[in-house]
């Protein structure tokens, strides 16, 4: 098949999902909270198609030929940025990469001015990483194109949650998470990965457990209690605990989150050593999970802290699969957002 034909095939099967009658209508992707389950399934199917593209000798299709994708990263990131840019290039998009170290941002230019400038320079899809929660929502209000959130503050990291979901589905029978136990262990309080995963995994029907020391779980009990009775349409309950054995026992998926050294300075943890001993995913602890359970980590890892080195490279670990799936998921989202641009009538609000 020619490259063009492949692109057309991707478009036919994924773009409008004739069989499921789900049409992508979101102008931006700021978090997974506003994405319905059928829409998540559409993203998953589109990712399947993109995985097919990536399996071929020439990993490139012209789907976004001539479209301009700009990455704007206000926070250091290697894997997320490279993943987005690889995804965009695989779709033949023109990629402009702006990092705050080399831009006018160091001269004090505001986010709003930066985005207006990038738009004037032709940016159509803006992939953004920012340390302040809600920053992409501000971008979405002023940017004429599409905003794809690459992580904002403690708030959201939707592409990570979607690649996590995709990876879990690959390893579960029929790709069905309903009733499957997923344990996320680490610094929940400061984690945008955890927050986005709460939305996507409760939508998937997983039996979600969030685990960490009490200082890094603040507010989560209240949240879990509010959702306990199935209050939120389309989202199930989840559990919050500091008992790591209870969280991991019989889990189908165990995910470790990065522990940052700053947490010690803030008086939230006594030491990394103590964290590793009490909450680190070591072989013994992981053995409490189901025999076929997978071990995940959004990266970058502190080996020997939240995850033991032997666990990180064990047969259970799917950490490099997450990275590979990340490219496919981001291709799918860039593709869907660009397609929505053509189809959009008027401007959809950010929410």
């Amino acid at each position: 098949m020619s490259v063009e034909a492949e692109a057309a095939a991707v478009g036919r099967t994924a773009g409008h999902a004739r069989t499921q009658e789900v049409v992508w209508h979101h102008r931006h992707l700021l978090d997974v909270d506003v994405v319905t389950w059928p829409e998540i399934e559409l993203i998953m199917r589109t990712t399947d198609e993109m995985k097919g593209v990536l399996a071929r000798p020439i990993r490139k299709v012209p789907a976004l030929n001539g479209r301009r994708v700009t990455t704007l990263f206000y926070e250091a990131s290697t894997r997320t940025r490279v993943s987005f840019e690889t995804a965009a290039r695989n779709l033949s998009a023109d990629v402009v990469s702006v990092s705050t170290a080399t831009s006018s941002v160091t001269k004090g230019e505001s986010l709003v001015d930066t985005i207006r400038t990038l738009e004037a320079l032709g940016a159509e899809i803006l992939v953004m990483r920012h340390s302040v929660s809600g920053a992409p929502h501000l971008a979405a209000e002023i940017f004429g194109g599409h905003v794809l959130n690459g992580g904002d503050g403690w708030h959201a990291h939707p592409t990570q949650a979607l690649l996590d979901l995709y990876t879990m589905r690959q390893h579960l029978p029929d790709g069905d998470l309903r009733g499957r136990k997923v344990a996320i262990v680490g610094d929940i309080l400061h984690s945008r990965v955890a927050r986005s995963n709460i939305w996507s995994l409760t939508a998937a029907g997983a039996d979600l457990w969030l685990c960490g020391p009490a200082t890094l779980l603040r507010g989560m009990d209240r949240w879990a209690t509010a959702w306990d009775g199935g209050a939120i349409p389309g989202h199930g309950r989840f559990h919050v605990t500091s008992d790591v054995d209870a969280a991991v026992r019989d889990a189908d998926v165990v995910m470790a989150l990065r522990i940052q050294r700053e947490r010690m300075q803030g008086g939230l943890l006594p030491s990394l050593r103590e964290y590793a001993a009490r909450f680190g995913l070591n072989a013994e602890r992981v053995s409490l999970a189901k025999p076929e359970a997978i071990v995940m980590h959004p990266g970058p890892m502190n080996e020997g802290v939240e995850i033991a080195p032997d666990v990180a490279i064990s047969g259970r670990a799917v950490i490099t699969e997450q990275v590979a799936n990340g490219v496919a998921v981001r291709m799918a989202l860039l593709y869907l957002l660009a397609g929505a641009h053509e189809a959009a009538v008027g401007h959809e609000a950010a929410r």
Partner: protein, 494 residues
Amino acid sequence: MSPRSKTAGSATALGPGIGEVVERFELEKAWLVDPVSGREGPGEIVITGGVLESVVWLEGEEAKGVSDRGVIVAPGFLDLHAHFREPGFEDAETVATGTAAAAHGGYTTVALMPNTSPALDEPGVLERIRSAARASGSPVEVLAYGAVSADRAGEQLSAMGELADAGVVGYSDDGAPVRTPTLLRSALLYAGMLGLPVVDHAEDLELTAGAEANEGYVASIMGLAGWPAAAEVNAVSRDLAVLADALIDEPRVRLHLTHLSTAASLDLVRRAKDAGLPVTCDVTPHHLALADEWIAGARRWSWEALGPDGSSRDPWADGALTAPPYNTSLLVNPPLRTPVDAAACLAALLDGTASAVVTDHAPHTVVDKEVEFGRASSGISGIETALGVLLALVDAKRMPLARAVAALTTGPAATLAGWPAPAAPPAARKRGLVEGAPADLVVFDRADRWTVTEDSLRSKGKNSPLIGRELSGRVLLTIAGGRLAYEDPGAGDE
């Protein structure tokens, strides 16, 4: 007056420009609210030569068709807490635009906070503000607080005695708390000696470092750093403990806690008042009517977000998120709290624990607000919407109309008068509809709803979370000290 007001009241057209004496004004068949006499009902007023010549209460046949849902006359409002940003931040507001905004909100007296640049820590800055007020031509009376500490740095006392001589109405380091308990004790004693109060912004800065939104359910979901209620409770506890100590040495010490926002801190004040401590406090319209869920995109009033058992409802579960999240106009210090806290603010106002509603009018430029949520400047431009917000409480039957008017007039005036200033400012005495006194009043039409827009706000600060919302009670006319302060542009059309 305007065709809009014809349904309930009618009056002769005005004539004079802003700042000019209202030579002759008559208003027939309006609803008068006089919180000093405690009377409200149908009536008529006549102003001659700037003086409220007659106040006539109508009865029987004459009173027919006049209700408290139409044109209402009340004494001019008094705001104990506003920021007009001059000198130093004239991009955000000036005394001229601030007084224009105040008059549009029905206010005839404002007390300005001293966090200007330079800070109002010596009489020269006060003279600049007064000079700007005179130059503005507005008859709105401008009062001011002096800073507690020199340059508001929290280290040594400001020129408190000279400031008292120059006529400040109290001392505050607002924008920040009085930094240490030791400095607060000194400030209370020295201010008490001078017959003036200390007004504290109660916040434990150690607990709020980096904080973005009220710690709780909404902040958790939104990924915003929590601003704990404990930060306010802790600060109020400190202040009350220091006040009790200072009272032993100086019987005239007075403490006023401004913009309290939590159920627990208001309860501390309630108990302190019961125990006889010389403390007063106020609440703001936004802490009464808005809640943290607005940051997530909810736009219902705080009382609409209460469940039948008095707990906060879940805006996600209710599908109540209708606006884009992270609107920086909602970033305010102290933060918008839960609907339960908002209900506690109302309860405190109704039981007298809080003696006034203050706007904490805090205008900001677009540059300071059109930024990432956690990086925006704190504050709400609120002096033009306070009346409308309180009327929403009245419309929802959460508060009687007369009580809402009192919270804007006699409440703050009594607070001012209760401070043992050697010569209480005239503002403290002029909050009734008193025949023979200079006319100082506001006329608004409760039935006339208006939409808050950037253009409708006279303030330079467009940072109102109520932009786009419809409020009751368009202000038709504000007269301050017998002179015209504001007249609705639609007035006199007929």
